[in-house]
Symmetry: C2
Subunit: 204 residues, 2 copies
């Protein structure tokens, strides 16, 4: 069976789990605790040289890393990834925005608060990440004010990618409640068929 | 004609120019100076709300941002983007590695040295970026030791994405000469048909 190496509290790992659940693709979840260095063991690095999760291993031994690349692989040919060439590029545009601009601020703030327990020496960085995170969410708000979802007026993997850390942004002290379009969109994602909560035990 | 908003000395912008030149796609280059705030003017933000370059605008008014999303759009259907589903995912894997791990270290070190002129107050961050950049290049070296290119044994947009800042890493005081596989690969990219140098005047 397909193996997914991940951490249930990681937004990047949650993206993969949510998609696999929504597509009803069976998998075995293999917990990896990055705080215990489990993604940096010689065994893990031999399989995945970049030492990051999520990572997947297929039955035939092929492997893939980078959450958004994994989403593109599994969503290909399903309604969650458009067939139109321009819409596919728009999906990628939002996914690169997520990894380059959104995740390094929104997820970093959450990491400092939730994982590192907000140590005083990280306070200056935390405040910077919160400010950057609010800017990233403002970009999303402007788009969602005129669009129901990120691409093509329907739920796609671009929504999954951006939802993962946005819906737990408050855990990094980023308050999204003033962003009404983002808040409406979060509710719309939660209402999707076969939605699962982050951090929950796997169902398959 | 297709408009490309960019800076000739930006690696992210160079990716787009190199691909368009190699595919012989005509375009008009519109210089944008980020240091002068030209990507943050009301006019630019009205077109591109994330305020970043490169950005492209098609004749019909459609727009696209994020260098690697732009590469995927134009390379689709050409030999520079594989048709195989798994190989396409591998291309994205390396492109997300580039934007999440490689660019924030290798390009940031170059930015501090080349654009900010290495101010003393940035020295600690610079040294951190150099160390992280060397780690990212070591990941590339391990892959290229057993592979001629990043995906499918041939030149693809994954190579363009990673080449852009790697080949000028020395401008950020990152010495890639000890990495023999990376050095060999850089020469192989330079030898591709219709290759153009970064920073050069546009040919079309």
């Amino acid at each position: 069976m397909l193996k997914v190496f991940g951490d249930h509290n990681s937004g990047n790992c949650f993206k993969v789990r949510l998609l696999l659940e929504q597509l009803a693709i069976p998998y075995t979840w293999i917990p990896v605790d990055i705080l215990k260095g489990e993604s940096r063991t010689p065994e893990f690095l031999a399989k995945f040289p970049n030492g990051q999760i999520p990572a997947v291993e297929f039955v035939d031994g092929r492997r893939l890393t980078e959450s958004n690349a994994i989403l593109n692989y599994f969503a290909d040919g399903t309604p969650l990834l458009p067939e139109d060439r321009f819409e596919r590029a728009q999906v990628l545009q939002w996914m690169f925005f997520e990894q380059y601009t959104h995740e390094p601020s929104v997820a970093s703030a959450r990491y400092i608060v939730r994982y590192l327990k907000r140590p005083p020496e990280h306070e200056k960085v935390l405040q910077k990440r919160i400010a950057e995170g609010l800017e990233a969410i403002a970009v999303m708000e402007r788009h969602l004010t005129n669009n129901q979802y990120f691409v093509g007026s329907r739920y796609t993997i671009a929504d999954i990618a951006l939802y993962a850390y946005t819906h737990v942004a408050h855990e990094g002290l980023i308050d999204i409640s003033p962003f009404s379009a983002v808040s409406r969109w979060i509710a719309a994602v939660k209402a999707q068929p076969r939605y699962v909560e982050m951090g929950a035990a796997q169902s398959s």
